[in-house]
Symmetry: none
Subunit: 415 residues, 2 copies
């Protein structure tokens, strides 16, 4: 089974936005055992979308499009697919009622143009929306198929997983179950990780086709991921294989593995705190609320998170955290901030960050100089140097995760 991806939007052709959707879709297709040999981007132009769809359908069995399903005149994906199918658009009353209900629920008036989102090529099946207003489409073209998804990543992700991948697998007649699981690591370089895992990869390669595979996924700021993929006759067998492989990798990598799948570092920290019945307070300087916002993104964080002081201006550190005079970017200051904030917010555990995010130096220190402070239990608070580099944004992001990791390791060490 071969599929192609067609990203639609003039802003892509002008380079005004980077097409991240195609990479995400490609990853999902690969993990489902579906080959993707070409990806194309085209503007909001019926004729050229038709041309791109026809070229793609001449080479493969299924095309996944993203974008061009909005309510404005620009959004012509529906028209183009109808032309390729050789059918007319018809307005679907049930879809229209659904869109009207969404607007009513939000207490907003629906503009007439939104009704266009209820138009379907004759013979297409809608994929109901769960997050926005534009439904997706499953459009048969002879014995082939075009899936049309919205360009908004959230909506796209949910629809692809819920409706497109199952339909593709069914069409592929795929009996085997392909499952994958991702282990997330922090604090080990990619080359060191490769060294540690290489013997296992070689053993699996030697076991021949049908054996699990292991792939490295560098995922920007969120650490390095290891993806295990297995193919088996049934789900139970597939899961058992995943469990076994996960166990082997954890033996090789130890504490560097902080989560599985979409488990974040802050979730690992939250679980460690909950198990110990402890609450957390943060004092953030150069991370500026990033750690707090990651934590608050977790439903249920209120069980263990008290709050944070973003002590951005230096006087705030002195006044509210009782930081003594002297440099504010130091291991000692980080430790004192952690101690100060757990007192201020009456939490069991304090975590603090202080550092230079750049672009300019501070206190004579170059961007990237940064410390985490950790105050746990009765022991004196500790300050740890973090190793950071890159842009202001990267320093803040990596600094946030590094500080959380410092706390996670401290909690695991039984502090």
């Amino acid at each position: 089974m071969r599929a192609e991806i067609l990203a639609i939007g003039t802003e892509l052709l002008l380079g005004q936005i980077v097409d991240t959707n195609s990479a995400w879709i490609a990853e999902q297709l690969a993990a489902s055992g579906i080959d993707c040999l070409f990806q194309t981007r085209v503007g909001d132009n019926v004729e050229r979308i038709v041309e791109a769809l026809e070229t793609a359908l001449g080479r493969c069995e299924a095309v996944v499009t993203c974008g061009g399903l909005g309510p404005t005149q620009d959004d012509v994906t529906r028209e183009a697919i109808a032309a390729v199918m050789g059918v007319a658009l018809r307005r679907d009353p049930a879809l229209l009622a659904g869109i009207e209900a969404i607007f009513a629920a939000r207490g907003r008036e629906m503009a007439a143009s939104n009704a266009r989102q209820a138009d379907l090529p004759d013979g297409a099946t809608p994929i109901p929306q769960r997050r926005g207003t534009a439904p997706g489409l499953i459009c048969p073209v002879g014995d082939k198929v075009v899936y049309a998804l919205p360009g908004v990543p959230d909506e796209l992700h949910e629809m692809l997983k819920r409706a497109v991948l199952p339909d593709l697998r069914r069409r592929a007649g795929e009996q085997a179950v392909i499952l994958s699981r991702t282990l997330r690591t922090w604090g080990i370089s990619e080359s060191r990780l490769a060294e540690l895992v290489e013997p296992r990869i070689e053993a699996l390669d030697a076991a021949g086709p049908g054996a699990p595979t292991i792939a490295f996924l560098a995922s920007g700021i969120e650490g390095i991921k290891l993806r295990i993929t297995v193919k088996a006759a049934g789900s139970d067998d597939a899961r058992a294989q995943l469990d076994e492989e996960e166990g082997r990798l954890r033996d090789l990598l130890g504490e560097a593995v902080f989560g599985v799948g979409d488990e974040t570092m802050e979730r690992a920290v939250g679980e460690a705190l909950l198990r110990r019945g402890r609450t957390l307070a943060l004092a953030e300087s150069f991370t500026g609320g990033l750690i707090a916002s990651r934590i608050v993104a977790l439903p249920g964080a209120s069980r263990w998170f008290r709050g944070a002081l973003v002590a951005y201006a230096t006087p705030v550190k002195h006044e509210l955290l009782a930081l003594s005079d002297g440099p504010v970017v130091s291991a000692e200051a980080a430790a004192a901030m952690a101690e100060g904030v757990r007192r201020l917010l009456r939490a069991d555990v304090g975590l603090a960050t202080t550092g230079v995010a750049g672009p300019d130096p501070q206190e004579g220190l170059p961007p990237g100089t940064a410390y985490a402070g950790v105050a746990v239990g009765a022991a004196p608070a500790e300050g740890l140097a973090l190793r950071l580099s890159g842009s202001r944004e990267r320093i803040r992001q990596i600094g946030s995760i590094s500080a959380l990791d410092a706390l996670r390791r401290r909690l695991l060490a039984g502090a």
Copy 2:
């Protein structure tokens, strides 16, 4: 003159890396007045690269490829272009000497495979490297042309600007400049925006080809953007047209326009505060540090940002913000938090958020119920209801920008 972009690399098809090169090249082509109607991605496979090149050359006059010029077996762009040209590869002695010299200068031994990088399709002109080892290629195909560039962004950027754009402009025999500018809006639905702008779009359409164009870009949570694109004989003329069109759109949209290009809402707030010489403190509940982290991402925020209290646990609101007993999700509580935090952090202006991010209700209120509190000057602090819906993440993100927008509008109103 029409050009296409072909990004080459199996890792793109597997979604392991996001193709940022194509967007960058597209932006450069657009700025040079060269239309780009299709972009394609293909794996490291001679046959399919040939197919993609032939498809592209059937539709346009020039193709820019990136990737697949490295020294390994995977790198087959040279072979594919030679096949499309119908010629053989020959090893260029001058290029080979250049590559050997680079290795010698770095004190490294050159692997035999690196010699492949000195191979040229017969009739192609090399683009000498200035940063890496792989030269680029200018490859005539009849009266059309294929430019092959390395996939390393640094090397690609330098070669495109130095060799490809000048050659393309010369071939195009025209000096038209295409410029675009994006206006960012908040607080108006896409459909309402379309209604307001429609008369202007129709007038421009009626003015025929060569007139500016206006397009809507939905950009997820960051509001709706309007992109103006103009084509003119020179940069000055193009900029004047952009200025005029921007003025007309601002007249139609008023305060809904908060920025241009990559100007964020927090930057608009920061500028309004700086102009008034005021400092800001935040009290964040359901937004949980998101507003602070957006602000701290701005270099220079320390001139106007004091800090934030993320008052996540309810007792923290009472203890540190002197919030009186009663519901914490209300307009009154938001106003009191804004007043409390500007006192606590000794700032001129206070901004607060309180609300239900979900998934569970709080105080009997459904997710999406939320308020911003704004304390400016001597007037009593105000609490404003925000209209939010969707996932927890979406509620927090949209809530953050909506709260900043409430403050921006209040400052613009001269409070």
